[in-house]
């Protein structure tokens, strides 16, 4: 059997295999998870994480890093839980303005050659502050439609799986197939040559940032749909989760090497790893440490598969 695997599909194969291995382990530990509701319970909180991971991936595509992802998703969640149900128009305007703000950030970072890490670090305070201003104490109410979508029960496959597949397909199309995707990946790969070919780097970056913000907005709304209400600190962990998801999915920090399907798989893997741990029932002292250990195990698995694949290739 001779399959000619491109680098991209190899990049995908490994995360996919780690996900499958982990899923088998979870099923073994907890056979109840092997059902429609079981899968939904395992994965529904992965949906917002997946969206945030995609957003982070888009930023990483242009060689930047967004340290404000968690704060931004929290901010969106607060807006979605306060304005969207009561004053949808104002809510929408706020969210659109936030997306525009991201685009502006992209432009500023490019024009002034600022390190994205610092700017987004600063922005994380800004979004966090705005979230506290909007929602000083936890509360709010998810928009009915968001709640409806997130608790819907499609036939055959649970919502969480359907959503992940849809997200993967759409982003794969945008990032890997469309001209815009090629352009922003080109910016990540070699900004100078894209510029020399006559493209406007500024608009490419602004586009990448705005698109990322749009996915982050979806993440915030999806999150509120699941939790029914919000607080200012609700998604702070998404910053690190989203970065880890992209990396697990085979993406890289620089060079525009990303994989949207991989990122989705990475986010699912991370979520699943947490459940796997719960099912193992470790002593409370070591539960936190075990989360580190599981990350390492998943990555070791990745390395192992990588090796296998290299040996295959060497032949």
């Amino acid at each position: 059997m001779k399959i000619n695997l491109s680098t991209d599909s190899v990049r995908l194969l490994i995360p996919a295999l780690s996900l499958i291995v982990l899923l088998c382990a979870v099923f073994y530990l907890q056979p109840r998870a092997m059902s429609y509701t079981g899968l939904n319970l395992l994965f529904n909180l992965a949906v917002p994480i997946t969206l945030a991971t995609i957003a982070q991936m888009l930023i990483m595509t242009v060689n930047d890093l967004d340290l404000s992802m968690g704060a931004f998703v929290s901010f969106v969640a607060c807006v979605a839980a306060t304005f969207l149900p009561t004053a949808p128009l104002i809510g929408t305007i706020i969210l659109l303005a936030a997306i525009a703000a991201y685009a502006v950030l992209g432009v500023v970072i490019h024009v002034r050659q600022l390190p994205s890490i610092v700017v987004t670090l600063g922005m994380s305070f800004v979004w966090g502050g705005l979230a506290v201003l909007i929602l000083p104490s936890p509360g709010g109410q998810a928009p009915v439609w968001a709640r409806w979508i997130m608790t819907s029960k499609p036939p055959l496959m649970p919502m969480a799986i359907v959503a992940s597949i849809i997200i993967a397909v759409i982003t794969h199309f945008i990032v890997m197939r469309s001209s815009f995707g090629v352009l922003i990946r080109g910016v990540g790969g070699n900004t100078r040559s894209v510029e020399r070919a006559g493209w406007s780097i500024i608009s490419a970056r602004a586009g990448a940032y705005a698109l990322a913000a749009s996915f982050a907005v979806l993440a915030g709304i999806a999150l509120v749909g699941l939790t029914t209400s919000a607080d200012a600190n609700i998604a702070l962990r998404y910053t690190l989760l989203s970065i880890a998801g992209v990396i697990l999915g085979g993406g890289e920090f620089v060079g525009g090497r990303v994989s949207p399907i991989g990122a989705v798989i990475g986010a699912l893997t991370l979520t699943l790893a947490g459940s796997f741990l719960s099912f193992l029932r470790i002593s409370p002292d070591w539960q936190i440490g075990a989360q580190g250990a599981i990350l390492i195990v998943v990555l070791a698995l990745r390395l192992f598969l990588n090796r296998l694949e290299k040996r295959e290739k060497g032949r």
Partner: protein
């Protein structure tokens, strides 16, 4: 009979001594209960970071694991409602304590945080009838406990207008953050007559005052042994007087018994209240003695205590 039932503790944070004492109490009391066959299991779970999303996932996993009851100290009163609802729908009893949830299907063992804040000012009003400037040390912005206690304090100040809140900082319930924040604002503050805290940052505040070489005001203490020991030291040296309010970490064991009672078929009101733990000048020594060195003043509950709380709510 609940000997076949399994109860889980879903805890969102383990990074401070209060939470550690809470987990220890849980282990001690439930371990006993499992051994004597009251329940079949009582497992404790903690998430890595203090995050509602992570805890929601944890609760969903508990549903899959087939627990009969879930006892929750929640990261957010509202953000877990989705997961809690799913648990209830799956027929699971959900009891929340300390960090309670607002989802109507769950039970709540609440501390009256507002009252806790108010009582601090009331105490001050007794001590300092002429009033004065007050420094407020708050917790983590955006968290419900912080909002509630602070709300109580402000209500108290409104009632006793001789007090003025001269400054307010967020100490994030962490000793060093509180110390840092107080040290930063202190130079710009006028003379401070008292410091109101959310229980636990008193020692840090005392150190910041000492470092700035300012007279030590009345600092409301928390329940940590070193705070109590410092207070005792001051009391012996110069008759320093204050009080301490806090929540006993052992409230987790009360929640356990309440869950057990509900599983046993007892009729239990959805909202229960536990008193907060208060230590005064005269019972300081007694409390200090009971508190392990480096630990937290604590009260653990028995089945009888729980039944008393349940009955008093009826």
């Amino acid at each position: 009979d609940t000997s076949g039932k399994k109860i889980a503790l879903s805890n969102n944070y383990a990074g401070n001594s209060w939470r550690q004492a809470m987990l220890t109490s849980w282990e001690k009391i439930t371990g006993e209960a499992v051994k004597t066959g009251v329940v079949a299991a009582a497992d404790a779970f903690t998430t890595a970071e203090n995050q509602a999303t992570e805890q929601a996932a944890q609760i969903q996993n508990m549903i899959l694991q087939g627990y009969d009851a879930i006892v929750i100290n929640a990261a957010s009163p509202t953000a877990l409602n989705g997961a809690v609802k799913e648990a209830c729908d799956a027929g699971i009893t959900v009891v929340s304590f300390d960090g309670i949830v607002t989802e109507p299907c769950a039970w709540r063992i609440a501390v009256d945080f507002k009252e806790m804040g108010r009582s601090e000012v009331e105490y001050l009003a007794k001590r300092l009838p002429q009033g004065g400037n007050v420094l407020e040390i708050r917790g983590l912005a955006g968290v419900f406990v912080d909002d509630a206690i602070s709300g109580g304090i402000h209500e108290g100040v409104a009632k006793y207008p001789q007090f003025k809140i001269a400054g307010s900082v967020h100490g994030d319930w962490a000793q060093d953050v509180a110390q840092r924040a107080v040290a930063g604002i202190l130079p710009s503050l006028p003379e401070i007559a008292a410091v109101v805290t959310q229980g636990g940052d008193g020692y840090g505040a005392a150190q910041a005052f000492a470092a700035a070489k300012r007279p030590t005001p009345i600092i409301i203490m928390g329940n940590r042994q070193d705070e109590l020991a410092w207070w005792k030291e001051q009391k012996d040296a110069n008759g320093y007087e204050t009080m301490s309010v806090s929540i006993a970490p052992g409230v987790s064991t009360l929640a356990f018994w309440v869950a057990q009672q509900i599983l046993d078929g007892k009729e239990v009101k959805k909202d229960l209240v536990v008193p907060f733990l208060r230590i005064d000048q005269d019972n300081l020594e007694a409390n200090l003695e009971k508190t392990p060195k480096g630990g937290v003043a604590n009260v653990e509950y028995t089945l009888e205590d729980a039944q008393a709380v349940i009955n008093s709510a009826k």
